[in-house]
């Protein structure tokens, strides 16, 4: 299975781990955008989740509490955004940017003195004989519980949006807040809840970066994963299962470029490390230029809702 010094079973196995943070963050943002709000602060929520999760896990010695703390911190950040955009009717683009700038500063402030520490290990789920299956075992059955939780979330969110009453209302609010309001739905409350959920998912994804993916704390550890998550929502045309596909694609590219670096590729390191961003841009171009323009974007995405208008 070795091609050019790279083992493909290991590659696919690490691809799945590498894609978890962007998968979680992108799923959260998908729900947020379906409700009609554009939160560009994903990177900020992720990195605050990463540092909070790291600090909580190291000080309690329990990685589970780390993920809970990361999610809570992400939701708290989203809460700031919700107050700004839903209560104080601030511009969503500017508020999202503010959230990212603030999050980058705050995370490095909290993380002072936590550099160079190893977090407690998030162990693999014991699946017994399943993990022993050749090829399939290492790729599918030897991961930690967050990996399986993230897969479960793809199905849960897909089912919720498509087949439940709550999902229908959420989508209605995103497509036309005026109509949803006229029908008596609480537009603002639904959007705030969606934002808090999205923040928790992003925070959880961030915690996965600092607890499993890297695992340590350094400033700017998420290095643009939040922005790639935003791009993946567009790539996925606002469909959950396509988010999974997108996350694998980008997880794959980042793992592959790291493997190429390790294998001593002739391409300079800097060009390999920029490749995930370049390819994200290329994919965005391909997706945006094809077919219809909106491709499933909620009609009221990014519009401010106020009852007097």
């Amino acid at each position: 299975m070795d091609i050019g010094g790279i083992n493909f079973v290991t590659l696919l196995s690490t691809l799945i781990v590498a894609s978890v943070p962007i998968l979680l963050a992108a799923l959260g943002e998908l729900v947020v955008e379906k409700s009609g709000t554009l939160n560009l602060g994903v990177e900020g929520m992720m990195i605050v989740g990463a540092v909070t999760g790291f600090v909580a896990a190291v000080s309690t010695g329990n990685p589970f509490l780390g993920f809970v703390a990361g999610a809570a911190a992400g939701a708290a950040m989203a809460g700031i955004f919700a107050v700004l955009t839903q209560v104080l009717l601030a511009n969503q683009v500017a508020s999202g940017l503010a959230l990212t700038l603030f999050g980058l500063g705050l995370s490095s402030l909290i993380g002072q003195g936590w550099n160079g520490i190893r977090p407690p290990v998030t162990g693999d789920v014991p699946l017994g004989p399943l993990a022993e299956i050749p090829v399939l075992g290492p790729i599918v059955f030897s991961h930690d519980w967050m990996v399986y939780l993230s897969f479960a979330m793809v199905f849960a969110i897909g089912w919720y949006l498509k087949s439940t009453r709550g999902g229908l209302i959420l989508r209605a609010v995103g497509e036309s807040h005026a109509a949803a309001h006229a029908l008596g739905y609480k537009v603002r409350r639904i959007r705030v809840l969606a934002l808090l959920f999205g923040g928790a998912m992003a925070g959880c994804g961030g915690a996965y970066v600092s607890l499993v993916r890297v695992p340590q704390w350094t400033d700017g550890i998420t290095s643009g994963a939040g922005w790639i998550a935003l791009a993946i929502v567009v790539f996925a045309s606002w469909k959950p299962w396509r988010v999974l596909l997108g996350a694998w694609l980008f997880g794959g590219i980042s793992v592959l470029q790291l493997n190429l670096q390790a294998a001593g590729s002739r391409i300079p390191v800097e060009y390999l490390s920029m490749s995930p961003y370049v390819i994200t841009i290329l994919v965005l171009v391909l997706i945006s230029s094809g077919r219809g323009r909106t491709m499933g974007a909620p009609a009221d995405l990014g519009r401010t809702f106020h009852t007097s208008q």
Partner: protein, 361 residues
């Protein structure tokens, strides 16, 4: 209960008062944050906002720094503000700043060690062209393929940073640098140096360019058809289309101007204060300029003042780091907080708050 009533026109008085209110609120919240970090909040705020200007021990050094730091911020923010007014979101100025520095420095270094008065102007042109070209990527992808310009311009920042380290370690590395990363020091080569123009003021060519940009933007917005189109497109996109304003043209123009200005800022920085292309060259000016643009209410004169204030937080932050052991990141969090408060109190400009005993909604 609180009820919001939209104003027919934004309040002029609040438009001026809100930035001041936001600064005051940030000082209070920042003080609380510093207290939580175990620092004396009053001393921290005084060290950041008062000491750099008036403390006899530091003012002589830190006052000139004010213009050094404010120059690039103002230059970049002026460009961004034109786009933000028109609803064109260039948030990748950091990348355009880095590329401008690289292309400008490369143009100069290609001629090293020739001595000529023409080298610096040539580098200025190359820097502006580099920033312009880098900004054209999201602009053209937007107009040709309808790709989201926010995401593309931002993702390009990470690409630019990789290019920067590649240049510092490779093509532009100083051959006499003993293998260390970084280019030749451009501020020490007479033909490329961007020195202080008036001793003791911190005024260099980048600051001059920033002042010119402020005047240029003011005239453009007040007196020129393009400025009118920009304002119209932001306030009433549909009306703008009926009036014959081409949205595509506006995207190209706004990105072009802001990219070129960010590139210029990068060039002036690499030939002056920074001195060389190096791994730590990018300092986040491109992102802080976003805050400067909003704090200045997207108004040229406002941006001038906001740039000076933000420069003060940088200098005061360094001083607080040195005097009180306040972590460097505290300032970035502080600046982010300022933008939060600004956006939050902006509601007073656009809405009237009514208090009523009971509300139906």
């Amino acid at each position: 209960m609180m009820r919001l009533e939209k104003r027919a026109t934004p309040s002029r008085a609040w438009a001026i008062a809100t930035p001041l209110l936001a600064v005051a609120l940030t000082m209070i919240a920042g003080g609380i944050l510093f207290a939580l970090l175990g620092k004396d909040p009053v001393a921290a705020i005084r060290t950041i906002f008062w000491d750099p200007l008036f403390n006899p021990q530091f003012a002589a050094y830190s006052r000139p720094q004010l213009l050094v730091k404010a120059g690039p911020l103002i230059l970049i923010a002026i460009g961004l503000s034109l786009g933000f007014r028109a609803g064109v979101w260039n948030i990748g100025a950091e990348g355009q700043y880095v590329i401008g520095a690289i292309t400008g420095a490369a143009a100069g270094l290609a001629l090293y060690p020739m001595d000529s008065r023409l080298i610096f102007p040539l580098m200025v042109l190359a820097g502006a062209a580099g920033g312009f070209a880098w900004a054209m990527i999201p602009a053209l992808l937007r107009t040709v393929f309808r790709t989201n310009e926010i995401l593309v311009s931002l993702l390009l920042v990470y690409v630019a940073q990789s290019l920067l380290s590649s240049m510092a370690l490779g093509a532009l590395r100083n051959p006499e640098g003993g293998g260390f990363p970084g280019s030749r020091n451009l501020s020490q080569w007479a033909s490329s140096a961007n020195p202080e123009l008036l001793t003791g003021t911190g005024m260099h060519w980048g600051v001059v360019a920033a002042f010119i940009a402020v005047i240029f933007a003011y005239v453009l917005l007040q007196r020129h058809m393009l400025g009118f189109s920009i304002r119209l497109a932001g306030q009433a996109p549909r009306a703008a289309r009926f009036a014959g304003v081409s949205p595509r043209r506006l995207v190209i123009i706004c990105f072009g101007i802001s990219g070129a200005l960010a590139g210029l800022a990068g060039l002036f920085e690499v030939t002056g204060p920074a001195g060389q292309i190096n791994l730590d060259f990018a300092q986040g000016y491109g992102f802080t300029a976003i805050i400067v643009a909003f704090l200045g209410r997207l108004n040229p004169v406002g941006i001038l003042l906001a740039g000076l204030l933000m420069a003060l937080t940088y200098i005061g932050g360094e001083l607080a780091q040195f005097m009180l052991g306040l972590p460097a990141a505290a300032i970035q969090a502080f600046q982010g907080m300022l933008l939060f408060f600004l956006l939050a109190v902006d509601i007073l400009t656009n809405y009237r708050i009514r208090w009523s005993s009971r509300e139906t909604v």
